[in-house]
Amino acid sequence: MHRVWKHILIITPLFAFVALMGFLIFYPVAKPPAVEMADARSAISDAFKKNAGIYSEKLFSEAKNCYDSAMSCWTSENQKHRYSRNFNKVSDLALLATKKALEASIDAENNTANLNITIREEIARLRETDENLNLRFSKYPMSTEMRNNISKGEILLAEAELEWEKGEYIQAQKKLKDVEKLLVPTYEFADANLRSYFRSYPIWKKWADSTIAESRTNQDYSIIIDKFSRKVYVYYNGELQLTYAAELGKNWVGDKKVRGDKATPEGMYEITKKYEGDSTSYYKALQINYPNDEDTAFFEAAMEKGSLPRSAKIGGMIQIHGNGGKGADWTAGCIAVTDREMDTLFKISRIGTPVTIVGSLRDLRYALKR
């Protein structure tokens, strides 16, 4: 009897242990959504590769948050008794993470493609603005600040382009905004100034036509200076004979107003004096009758109106002279040509030879196309 009890005492716990093991092993328990979690990870990883973190920040961050929540939910379910675990929420969150990550991927792809096009267009537009600034206004009088803005803008534009090429669209876009602030107002100012300058075109044309007609009538030489094209045209008997490059005063846009404004006057003049040798510092010079009656009347009217300072004085000593060919507008308002060209001009000119200075011989459309 004692032996039987001993067997029972040994076999019972052993049986119970085996039964328990069997129960533990074979009783169905909730399975964690490992596959769904792997899918979510893969979708998030793909979205990251498509730069969704930058170009679809909200959706990508939501996807990551869903995944993190799923992970923490999974961990907290693991703390529970294995038979009371429920992974439905984990699964739902994993699926939501996948959905959001896929949406973020598509959104990022679209945004990237759109940004790529937008930035490319923006770069092209600003490049065109810069090219126009250089083509139309490289010799246009502008303040030091404006010139500095153009320089800064050009360097920033190059930086933005490099970033765009590397696919760093956000940085490129930020830089382009700064470029816009530097280049566009400068261009708009110069453009408006140019348009306003060309309002006098009909008068210039009339002066030029009259000068050419005078040359034909007198069968003599006439000189026309085109400030915008920086050209000196020599006519004989109404026919164009010579064309030279001209260099002007630093502030050549607009008519000369006062002494020292470094502007080249506009009007119909004639040669009043010829200088050569020691009488000029500029090789040879042909002085014109600036200010003429019209200039004096204009100056006096401006003084009366108070549009000029009281200390202002009318300018003078405007000449066509040598020492030119420097490739810049450097005179105090005179017209400079090379010494060799000056020799020719000096030879053909006499006291009384007409010299007409115009803003431009061609209209605004030409100036804008240039």
């Binding site: 964690p32 010139r147 320089s151 360097i155 630093k250 450097w330």
Partner: protein, 198 residues
């Protein structure tokens, strides 16, 4: 005797069951996380973003695997430990690769910076040679503006370089290089036109 054998077997079975409940490899997890953090500190996300993202993906997969094992009755972290070791090694390799890449970018930036500084220096030397007086004033004024902009960009690039942000420095230098070179050409053209030797 028979009873003792049975008792012994039962005890072994119990020990085996208990022994199979492995411990979470916290030391390995911490070491791997530290290796990934070190890669981030080394700016792997800047210089080797693809490799860094792969590291993070692998760690996320391991975390999921750990959660899976955590939920099991008989926990076996052997595979997890092996994965952790491999990701840790990968993170260490990334740190080495980042150092190499960073050095490459640093050298490129250094070379370009030294080139552009030479051009800037030459421009500064040529500037006083430009025609003096009213003839050159307008040209000098315009060129000075351009030179100031280039100088400012070079200074910014140098500051970024000194801070160790070589990628950003490289971008700035590349952008200013063309401008500095075109200015150099422009100055030389003015000097040639004015028949001034340089």
């Amino acid at each position: 005797m028979k009873n003792r054998i049975l008792l012994g077997l039962a005890a072994i079975a119990m020990v085996a069951v208990l022994a199979s409940c492995g411990k979470k490899p916290q030391v390995e997890i911490d070491a791997t996380n530290a290796a990934i953090a070190a890669a981030q500190t080394a700016e792997a996300n800047v210089y080797l973003p693809g490799e860094f993202a792969a590291l993070q993906d692998s760690m996320n997969a391991i975390n999921a695997k750990i959660a899976e094992v955590d939920g099991k009755l008989f926990k076996n972290y052997k595979e997890v430990v092996a994965d952790l070791a491999s990701v840790k090694t990968l993170a260490e390799t990334v740190v080495t690769n980042v150092a190499v890449k960073k050095d490459e970018v640093k050298k490129e930036a250094e070379g370009l910076l030294s080139n552009i500084k030479a051009v800037v220096e030459e421009n500064a030397k040529l500037l006083p040679k430009l025609p003096r007086g009213k003839e050159g004033a307008a040209v000098i004024e315009q060129i000075k503006g351009d030179l100031t902009a280039v100088d400012a960009t070079v200074a910014e690039a140098q500051s970024l370089f000194d801070k160790g942000t070589y990628m950003d420095a490289l971008n700035k230098i590349k952008a200013a290089t063309d401008k500095a070179a075109s200015l150099n050409a422009e100055i030389k053209e003015v000097l040639t036109k004015a028949k001034i030797r340089f």
